[in-house]
Symmetry: C2
Subunit: 432 residues, 2 copies
C-alpha cells in the first residue's frame, strides 16, 4: 500500500506581542522591547499541524508576519513528503526567491520569516514521526542530515564530504551520551539576574536567588557607563563566589576599541565570555577584540544573519563561543551548517535563548549537537530566561540548572490558543 | 525676524511596481524581478514636499513600504530644522529604534526603509535650499558634513577628526573641478547590453549600438554556465574593441573557489572588474578572490548592508572598486561615511545604479565625491541603465557616455503622479 501523502492546505500567521517593555525585563544597552512572536501554523489535509515562530522585539513584528505571508506560496499545496525529499530546493525557494532575495539577501526580516516557516515544516515532520525534534534529528541518517544543508557560499570552509566525515567521527558513544542526556539533562545558565533596567537591589536579590536555586553560571548585561558595569559585576561576583561562571553581554553597544578598553576593566571579575562586544556584522572587529581580551572568550550569534557570517567568524578565529540563534537564521537546515562548522573548528555552541520560544527551540538543537555533532557538553550551556514559558503547550523543563529532554513530539513552540488570542496585536485583550 | 520652522505634517508611501520580469530586463544569475520602488513623500505645513525611495525587485516591496510606515513616527510632527540640527540623533532614531533594530540590525527591509525616509528628508532640505543635491552637499561646510555621520562602529577605521582632515585635503582645486563637471559631465558606463535573459543576437545588437553611441565602458552579466559566459564575453569584447572597458557581474552566484576558477577563464577578455563574485556578506571571501584574480579588480556594494560591512571590505583589502548603493544603506548620511572610508583607502567609488531611480540618486553622490572627497574622476564611473527614467519628474540626462549635472533642486527621485497611479500595486491599471 502506498502511503498517503500529506498536503499543506493552509497557513496562519499570528502577530503575538507581550507587553514586557514597561517592566524593564529584556532591557539592555540596545533593546527595550515588547517580546513578540511571529507565530506560524501550517495545516494539512491529513490532520497534523506544524508550528514555527520567529522572535521579535515588538514593533516590527508586523513586518516578519507580512514576510511569512509573502513566502507562503512556496509551501501551500506542496506535500510534506516532497519538501522533505529535496530539502535544498525547498530551502532555496524561500531564501533565494528571485524577487524577495533582494530585500535580504538572507538577512533581517525576510530571512527571519523564512526561518519561521521552515521550522514549522520541521515541526510538522517531527510530529508526523511522533518524535521530539532532538530525537528526530538525532536518529536521522548522516546522509539525510547533510542533504538538508545548502552548502552554497560555505564550501570554502565546509564541504558535504567533510560534513559526513564529522558526523561519522562523532558517532561512537552515541548510546552512552543518550543515557547521560536522559538522566542528567543538558547544562543551562540564567540571564534573569542582571538586566540594565533593574536597580542594584533587584540584581542582588535575583543573584542570591539564582545561587540558592543551584545555578552555577549567570549572565549580566554590560555596556552602560563603565563604572556602573564594574560596580554591578563586583556585586554579582561577590554573591556567586569564585567558582561560578559569570558571563557578560554588551549587546553590540561598543566600538571595537571601547570593547577592548572596557573588558580590560571588567577582566578583574573573571568573565567566562563577553557577548556581542560590538556590531553583529563586524567579523574583523570581533577577531581583533578576541586577540586583545584572551583568555576571555568572545561570543556572538544572536544577530549573526546567516551561515556566511558564521563561516567568517570561524575563519577569522573571531569567537570562542558560538551563540547560534534558532530564529535569526534559516531554520534547522542552516543551524545544522553552523553546528558542523563549529565542530570542525572546535568552537563550543551555546545557543542564544530567552525572548519568546527561544528556550523551547534551542534545547533541541543543543541536545542534538551533543548526541551527533560535538559529542560533548564541556564548556557548553543553553541560555535560560524564566519568562513567558506559560504560553507554550510544551514548555521547557529546567531543574537544578539543567534542561530536561522534551518527551512530546515536535519542536516545542506550539503556543496555547488562549495565549495567541489574548496577546494578538493589536486586537487582543492585552492590547486593547 | 525669526525664520518660521517647517513641520512635517504627513507622509505617504506608494508601492510602485513595473512589470519588467516578463521582458528579461534585469535578469541575472540570481534575480528575476519586477523593478519596483517603495516611494515616499513627506509633506510640510509650509509647502515643500520631500521625495525618497528604495528600490526593490517586485514581491517584497510591500515589506519595505510597511517598514517605512513603522518608522514614520520618527519624522511626523518634527521640524526640518530640528532634524537637520542633530543629524546623528535623527539617524539613530530610525536605525537604532529600540524595538525595530531587532529585525535588522541595520540591514535588509528595515534599513532600506530607513534609507528611503532619510533621503526624503535630504531631498526636502535641498529643495528648501533651492539646490540640486550634489550642489547642496558640495557647498556644505566640512563640519556639517561630518556631523551628519554616525561614526558608531566605524571609529576603528575612521574618526571624525580623520574625516575632517580628508575633506580639508580635498578642498584645493574645487573651483576647477566644478568647471570641469559643468562642462564635461561625469563618466558613465552602460549595463544594458548583457543581461542573462537576452539571446546572443540581442547582446550583439545592443553592444554594437552602445559602441555607436560612444560608450567606452560596458558591463555584462556572468554566472551562467561558464562556456556561455566565455562565449558572450568574446562576442562583446570583439565588438567593443581592445580599448573599451569590459566589466563583469556575477550577482553573488559563485562560491569563493568557483569565482576564482571562473575568473581565470574569463581573464582572457581583460575585465576591468568582477562584480559580486560571491555572497554579499563574505568579506573574507572577497579578500581571497581579490588576491587570486589581481590585477582584475573585485567590486561589490549593491547588497552590502551598511557601513560596518564596507569598513571591513576596506580593512581586508577585499575590493578595488566600491559600489555603494544609494538605497540599500541608511541614506546620504551613511553614504558619506562610505565615501570617506573609500577616500582614506584610495578605493575608487563607482556607485551601483540601474533599477528604478538609482541612476537619478547616485549621479549626485558621485559628483559630490568628485568635488569634495576623492577629487578625481580617474577610474570612476556611474552605472547607467536605460530603463524607466520616463517616470521621474527630473530624469537623468546622459549623453556621449557622461552624466550631465542636474540643475533642478533636490535629489531627483520625485516620481510623476501619473506613473505612481498607473503602476501602484496591486490597484493600478498596469496590474489590474
Amino acid at each position: 500500500m502506498t502511503p498517503v501523502p500529506t498536503t499543506i492546505t493552509a497557513m496562519d500567521v499570528f502577530d503575538v506581542r507581550f507587553p514586557t517593555a514597561t517592566a524593564g525585563d529584556g532591557s539592555d544597552a540596545i533593546n527595550r522591547g515588547d517580546y513578540s512572536a511571529t507565530y506560524v501554523e501550517v495545516r494539512t489535509d491529513t490532520g497534523p499541524v506544524g508550528s514555527g515562530l520567529t522572535f521579535t522585539n515588538g514593533r516590527g513584528n508586523e513586518l516578519t508576519c507580512a514576510a511569512v505571508r509573502a513566502l507562503a506560496r512556496h509551501v501551500l499545496g506542496r506535500t510534506v513528503e516532497d519538501l522533505a525529499a529535496d530539502q535544498v530546493t525547498f530551502w532555496r525557494s524561500l531564501t533565494a526567491d528571485a524577487q524577495l532575495r533582494w530585500v535580504g539577501p538572507e538577512k533581517g526580516v525576510i530571512h527571519m520569516a523564512s526561518g519561521a516557516l521552515i521550522n514549522a515544516i520541521w515541526d510538522l515532520r517531527a510530529r508526523m514521526a511522533d518524535k521530539p525534534m532532538w530525537r528526530f534529528l538525532a536518529e536521522m541518517p548522516a546522509e539525510e542530515l547533510v542533504a538538508s544543508i545548502d552548502f552554497r557560499h560555505i564550501t570554502d570552509e565546509l564541504t558535504p564530504a567533510e560534513a559526513l566525515d564529522l558526523l561519522a567521527k562523532a558517532q561512537p558513544g552515541y548510546a552512552e551520551r543518550l543515557a547521560v542526556l536522559q538522566t542528567e539533562g543538558y547544562p543551562a545558565y540564567t540571564t534573569s539576574v542582571g538586566w540594565l533596567g533593574y536597580p542594584d537591589q533587584k540584581v542582588r536579590m535575583l543573584t542570591q536567588r539564582a545561587r540558592d536555586d543551584g545555578w552555577g553560571a549567570v549572565k549580566m548585561k554590560v555596556g552602560g557607563p563603565i563604572e556602573d558595569d564594574v560596580r554591578r559585576a563586583g556585586l554579582i561576583r561577590e554573591i556567586i563566589g569564585d567558582d561560578a561562571l559569570l558571563m557578560m553581554d554588551a549587546n553590540q553597544v561598543w566600538d571595537v576599541d571601547v570593547a577592548i578598553a572596557s573588558m580590560r576593566r571588567l577582566a578583574a571579575f573573571d568573565p567566562y565570555w563577553i557577548e556581542e562586544p560590538t556590531h553583529a556584522d563586524d567579523v574583523l572587529g570581533h577577531a581583533r577584540i578576541a586577540r586583545a581580551v584572551a583568555p576571555i572568550n568572545v561570543a556572538t550569534g544572536e544577530a549573526a544573519a546567516n551561515r556566511v557570517i558564521f563561516k567568517q567568524l570561524f575563519q577569522a578565529e573571531a569567537i570562542g563561543i558560538c551563540q547560534v540563534d534558532s530564529c535569526r537564521i534559516g531554520g534547522v537546515n542552516e543551524v545544522l551548517a553552523v553546528l558542523l562548522m563549529a565542530a570542525k573548528r572546535g568552537v563550543p555552541v551555546c545557543p542564544h535563548a530567552g525572548g519568546v520560544g527561544l528556550c523551547e527551540y534551542v534545547q533541541h538543537l543543543s541536545m542534538f549537537d551533543y548526541l551527533r555533532v560535538s559529542g560533548s557538553m564541556a564548556g557548553r550551556m543553553v541560555e535560560y530566561v524564566d519568562h513567558l514559558h506559560e504560553h507554550f503547550v510544551d514548555p521547557v523543563v529546567v531543574a537544578g540548572g539543567r534542561y530536561r529532554p522534551p518527551a512530546r513530539p515536535g519542536y516545542s513552540v506550539a503556543m496555547k490558543p488562549g495565549s495567541v488570542a489574548d496577546y494578538s496585536f493589536p486586537e487582543g485583550p492585552a492590547w486593547r
